[in-house]
């Protein structure tokens, strides 16, 4: 399946891109599995997702935890804890 992945703030800087379309194996069925899969895709991803629990996620623009399932066509965003206001 294909998902559209976005990266923000220092996640974007560490990964080296702001977005990409990823073709995922069927075994990657939720956010946690996607993070594990990304960490195996290269040093930049491993650096970006180095510290467990720091990176936040939204699926289709709604905050999501590691157990949130993902399906083809979803927009999955990764970002640090927000610091607006």
């Amino acid at each position: 399946m294909t998902v559209h992945v976005l990266y923000f703030a220092w996640l974007r800087e560490r990964v080296g891109r702001s977005e990409e379309a990823l073709e995922l194996p069927e075994s990657v069925a939720d956010v946690g599995a996607l993070v594990s899969w990304l960490r195996a895709q290269g040093d930049n991803y491993r650096r970006a997702f180095a510290v467990p629990g720091v990176v936040r996620c939204a699926v289709n623009q709604v905050f999501a935890g590691p157990e949130m399932s993902i399906k083809s066509g979803d927009e999955v965003a990764f970002f640090p804890p927000v610091t607006g206001g």
Partner: protein, 146 residues
Amino acid sequence: MTIRIQHAPFDVGTEIAALSAGRTDIGGIGCFVGNVRGPVAAMTLEHYEAMTLPALQAIVAEAEARWPLLGCTVIHRIGRLLPGEGIVLVLAASAHRQAALDATAFLIDYLKTRAPFWKKETFADGTEAWVEPRAVDDAAVAKWSR
């Protein structure tokens, strides 16, 4: 309800006037303005555009469910801002002051931990650093839990 994300500065007086124009039922308006604070040379705000508006609408809806609001305004700026410039404006109007003031505090507390904005500081020597989340902000939100 007025929610705007913009590069341009906002004018507090103009926004308060717009919120209360033609209204005789509003007894009080709470106001919070967040400014860029020195000694940083600049602050750059980025956001997740597709998510920002829905996130802010959800926060405002939560405030409206808790207090009898007669209107509210949330304006958040993005892009590069200088010390002294306004970053965020929150206005909450109600018949009485306590609801207006409490809703204003609630809105800014929630915005700081639930809206997808990120700040990067630029210092006088040109170095840059992403602003770290602060535990005090999480504590501020936690106090509204019920």
